[in-house]
Symmetry: C2
Subunit: 421 residues, 2 copies
């Protein structure tokens, strides 16, 4: 008897009909003999309605009250899903994040899970019930309601799976799994059958939207096997787990891209110790997330510092950089919002030199200019002009043979693509 | 510095504009120097939307999950109201029922408040914040979310006022106060300035909808002064408090009516000890609320038993009565859904004989036939045909001079009426 955690996102529970369908899936799993825990998001439109109410009242609502407001979304879904299971003649019980023992820190709107007290969920499973847990939300030790930020329900699901010692955490989504590239850009992208935590982390961090970065980190830290699969089909999706010798070792797992960041450059900064610390200390203090950082070599005692940051942090970033530019006596700063980041991810990179060279050569041949470069041991990322992102993705997918040995495969309408035999 | 609890119902917070207006009122009270606690209901339409989703999924949803679902309504309002206060430059904090320390028993959909742990609310008041509490909801000691049944937000407000030792509990509604009769039926009905708990209890129990019975009971038991007033005007409403010699002593305070009950009659029941116990024991076991009970004098060892019950309990009542009719060997039972109850309420009744006689005479003269009669020391109720309820209310209002000494008064559009000078 396996213990399975299944997570359904906002699209999968978007209407009462879809909630009935999810109930049916959970019951099927139960009838196969598994113990079943569901983690669900808010119904698609529900959160939008709440947000429009909030914005009718305040341009800048307090984050604590936003959490209070938005946490109702998942609470509606869990109640309706429990009703749907009862209506089909099975026992279910719903729990809010607080009731499920999900404890977070107090960073409202992007809280981090600290602990799971799974007693109540375990008791309900003992009573042979399907357990339904509100994703995305938690309670602080002081009793404040928090939310976990974008994609937080994935993190809830993985955390619950870890807390319960589940056999697998199934993340149901509107695509068939994790692909070698975004199939909307590269039609020959194929579904990846198995991928390691490390590679998935790099892919999530560089633009693969199917799993939230933090949920993968959590899975790696607690060794939770994730199965990403479609909520509309029945086929297998992508397994994310610890790398071992049985895992297919592609040199490159996939190409990702991300157009959600902007590039900021501070020009002619005096090149003395502590300058970078000053710039990025100020950005951190103002809660600006920074992704890539490049500092040019010094010329006549002056240097340029560039970094990328999510566009949603840009207002705060500009304010912080303006202040620091003045404080440091730098010449000026500039912002470029039409940039994109394209990345190659693959564990085989560690042992196969020449990947970077082939990447840069292919992009150059395709006329793509590189603005910034950063690497990890299993990833190479380049910042390029936003208008070249599709060319870059297709070029790299082709150059590294990621679509090879494919046939036209049956797949969901939202993820048209090809599958390796 | 007074401590004021203000309760706003679903109509008063029905739109984001109205929520802004309520925020403004709370800030005004705060600026007068009071410490302010608001208790609010769900936005008017919000609950309806939730109910329609629930009914799309299940004809008979589990009550625990209904509570889980409906409790989100008030949570949305408290968050939006806190945002609205912040947007107007003041400090506010919202609390769910659970966070406000409102503990109930576990009777889902009609739970009763058992305790209030007001520490967190007190702390927030100490920090000079306006405190906003979700009405209608509570938490059991086991951590289950409950709701308090119809009008439960009134009960929350009174319970919070009791728990905090507030100076007054203001219940804001869409009428100007408690009236001597329903102004939609009797245009000469006038607003009552002050009324005792006992009279208000009888009026609430017999159809005056402005305050929920349980909230008045709670207020009496904890000596909380209630002020019922309009959320659209500024004038004084009706004060509900302990009777004392300063209180105006009308013989009759008001006429109420109620068309929400049905009458059930069990015919030719063997007249032996224990029969009534059997009938009403069974009804209680099946969770059927019973209001009036009449047993006729015995004739040839047989008797009839009649009772009234809320129409919403009628399906359960019929099932229970059918079973008990067979078990007792009674002849049959009948149900009459077109009945109404009209009641006279007044503390002066105790010391003024002849009230009942005048009541019965007036109704007889108006051609109103009496079906059942029941009395308390300060109330007389008659069950009549539903089609005669308006005649009966107007007849009694006139006969007992309840509209006397009136002039046309300024009042809210929803409560057209007259006011005593």
């Amino acid at each position: 008897m396996a213990l399975v955690v299944q997570k359904y996102g906002g699209t999968s529970v978007g209407t009462t009909d879809r909630i009935m369908a999810v109930a049916h899936r959970l019951i099927e799993a139960k009838e196969r003999g598994d113990r079943v825990v569901a983690v669900v998001s808010a119904m698609g439109d529900f959160t939008d309605e709440l947000l429009s109410k909030a914005h009718a009242i305040s341009a800048e609502p307090p984050e604590r009250e936003m959490d209070m407001l938005l946490a109702t979304g998942e609470q509606v879904t869990i109640a309706l899903l429990a009703m749907a299971i009862h209506a089909q003649g099975h026992e279910a019980i719903s729990f809010t994040g607080a009731q499920a023992g999900i404890v977070s820190d107090s960073s409202h709107t992007k809280a981090r899970i600290q602990e799971i007290h799974a007693d109540r969920v375990n008791d309900a499973l003992e009573q042979d019930r399907i357990v339904i847990i509100a994703g995305f939300q938690a309670l602080t030790p002081e009793g404040e309601i928090t939310t976990l930020g974008r994609g937080g329900s994935d993190t809830t699901a993985v955390a619950v799976a870890a807390g319960l010692g589940a056999d697998v955490c199934e993340i149901y989504t509107d695509v068939d799994g994790v692909f070698t590239a975004d199939p909307r850009i590269e039609p020959r992208a194929r579904k990846i059958d198995t991928i390691s935590y490390e590679e998935m982390l790099e892919m999530a961090a560089t633009g693969a939207r199917v799993l939230q970065l933090r949920s993968v980190e959590f899975a790696r830290n607690h060794n939770v096997v994730i199965h990403v699969r479609s909520s509309f089909g029945q086929g297998p999706g992508t397994i994310v787990r610890e790398a071992d010798e049985t895992m297919e070792q592609a040199i490159i797992s996939g190409v990702t891209h991300d157009t959600s960041e902007a590039k900021v450059t501070v020009r002619d900064v005096p090149d003395r110790p502590g300058v970078a610390a000053e710039v990025f200390g100020r950005l951190a203090a103002d809660n600006v997330n920074v992704d890539m950082i490049i500092q040019n070599v010094s010329e006549q005692g002056m240097t340029d510092i560039s970094f990328t940051t999510p566009k949603e942090d840009l207002v705060r970033a500009k304010r912080a950089v303006a202040a620091v530019t003045e404080a440091l006596g730098a010449r000026s700063f500039s912002v470029d919002e039409s940039v994109a980041k394209v990345s190659l991810v693959g564990a085989g990179m560690k042992t196969h030199p020449g990947v970077a060279a082939l990447m840069f050569r292919s992009l150059a041949d395709a006329g793509v200019n590189l603005d910034m470069i950063s690497t990890s041991s299993i990833r190479i990322s380049c910042v390029i002009g936003a208008e070249q992102v599709e060319t870059a993705v297709r070029t790299l997918h082709e150059a590294f043979g990621l679509g090879e040995a494919f046939v036209i495969a049956e797949t969901s309408p939202s993820a048209p693509g090809c599958e390796k035999r």
